[in-house]
Symmetry: C2
Subunit: 337 residues, 2 copies
């Protein structure tokens, strides 16, 4: 499947090479700061933090913070601290998420809670969130503090919402989009909005980069939802089929349920309410998703948000930062191929 036209303009094969190259010098400092701020005399903290850090996330969010600051000509060094804060907020969320979802794998490796237990995962998550705030406070930019602290509230709110909506088949597409806007897209939006804030680029620039991050985050999550049914564990960084096995409601399921017969609706209700689904049920789920084009439709939604993100970043003057930001959109969507 190829990505629709404007997203395709960027480069022949979508990749994050451009943003990696653009942000490499700053990301060296971000990584050093992450290691330093994950340090503690309490040995368990750096142990768990380094497990997460070394387990090879792409560091997409902090790269976006760096790139969005550079895109507006920022020449200071505070973007490093904010980027590290964003990554810590993300890592804290992952730790707590794994506890909440009872996940065994994270990025293809055993999750922290499986090795050190739920207790340590909760508390080390709290530690990292606290360190994130300390770094933001160090920067001392109140607008950035407001944006990032608001994101932390919205993310938690989204997670609680998902908890209550997770098993309800009455959750429709619009509700689901609100959940992922909160739990995933809000951090992307905050990560990219603080760039122009640091560069003092004005409210219009801020709104533009917020729109970029928000739509990118929505596209990113929807592609993740599709990959859970179609991808490989390697591409996804966790077991495929996990969402279904755990009875998690995602957009493909919502669409297949809506479009399904009464018998199929009953299948989805049973699968989501039961929560412990076997491989045979997963095969049946994939068959129904295929029959109703639910994965295709989800990809189409993702592409729609990708277009919006692309449009927001297109307004930037031509520069390596602009190219990097545009490429990220194409990359996120191309993961389904």
């Amino acid at each position: 499947m190829s990505v629709a036209s404007p997203v395709r303009e960027t480069s022949s094969k979508a990749s994050i090479d451009a943003i990696v190259a653009l942000t490499a010098p700053a990301m060296g400092e971000v990584n050093a700061m992450i290691l330093a701020m994950a340090g503690s005399n309490v040995a368990l903290i750096p142990e768990i933090a380094e497990h997460l850090i070394s387990s090879g996330g792409k560091r997409l969010r902090p790269m976006l913070t760096i790139a969005s600051a550079l895109a507006y000509g920022y020449r200071g060094s505070d973007h490093v601290k904010l980027a590290a804060s964003v990554e810590f907020m993300h890592t804290a969320t992952l730790l707590h998420d794994d506890v909440v979802d009872e996940s065994d794998l994270r990025r293809g490796k055993q999750s922290a809670r499986m090795i050190w237990g739920n207790q340590a995962s909760v508390l080390v998550g709290d530690f990292l969130l606290g360190q994130a705030f300390r770094m933001m406070v160090d920067v001392g930019e109140l607008s950035a503090l407001r944006i990032l602290s608001t994101a932390s509230v919205v993310i938690a709110e989204g997670e609680v919402w998902q908890l209550s909506a997770a098993k309800r088949m009455t959750t429709g597409e619009a509700d689901y989009l609100k959940v992922i806007e909160a739990k995933t897209a809000a951090l992307f939006a905050a990560a990219t909005e603080v760039g122009p804030v640091l560069a003092e680029a004005g409210p219009e620039a801020q709104a533009q980069m917020r729109a970029y991050g928000l739509n990118l985050g929505l596209a990113f999550q929807l592609v993740d939802d599709v990959l859970d049914y179609r991808g490989t564990a390697q591409a996804l960084g966790k077991n495929t089929g996990d969402d279904f096995r755990e009875g998690k409601l995602t957009l493909p399921v919502i669409l297949a349920h809506q479009r399904g017969s009464e018998a199929e609706k009953a299948f989805w209700r049973g699968a989501l309410e039961g929560g412990e689904n076997d491989d045979a049920a997963l095969l049946e789920a994939k068959r129904l998703l295929e029959r109703h084009g639910a994965l295709e439709a989800t990809v189409a939604r993702a592409r729609g948000f990708g277009e919006k993100a692309f449009g927001a970043a297109s307004a930037l003057p031509a520069s390596p930062s602009r190219t990097a930001l545009l490429d990220v959109v194409a990359f996120c969507i191309d993961r389904v191929n």
Copy 2:
């Protein structure tokens, strides 16, 4: 048992009446703000938050923030937001603590995790912590932000430390004091230090109120440790004997272990490592604590920290705030009687 002399100067029967009266107008606003900031369209959030809010903690920490601001002549309204932040930080910690300790009761009522599950407790804790930061950011005072965000890191660090130290009988008195300084006293210290910060009373006043809060927090926790073996569930706000039943290492246990025979040492090791102790074991534990004067010795330590807190607040000029702060010290220690 009566409290040693200087602490006794304040009033005939130690109570928090003075601080309650002093802070009543501001605490009305704090309570309104707490309710407002616990609000959310996600119904589960206000439900859990109100469960905690209505379960009748004394709100000692926010009262301390208000009183410590008033003690330095503060006339603004930002102390209300910081006090609400402090209470939210505390509530978030309680929610996560109950998950980590697998507690059934909190303040004499069923704990949130028993009603809504661990998942919701983790996530609503995250929500409240995020709201705490938002309120601090609203105040826009970077020193206060630094003090409170640092406290959030230190608390989490202390909790992780306790997790690893909890079952190790090699943890000595000095190590244990460091743990409770982090997990309990750090928030008291931050709560009282931000008062003079708001009042712009200068670094000496800040240091004084920090010392007051820190020592008060240490005394408070040690008295809690004693009450777990000697108090009533009503005075403690949770089941007595819980620490022992869960195999939690506290100062009375450390002292009884140190002073015990080899057979007694083996009893404590077994009890703490096993972690699931019955009523017969609890009776034996109480007998050993009594034999070695471990509870008395812990109260003496608490009284020592109380004296220091008292000394720090004594430096204030005579005022209703000074009386209120001094009374709180006597009250905290008098709980063992």
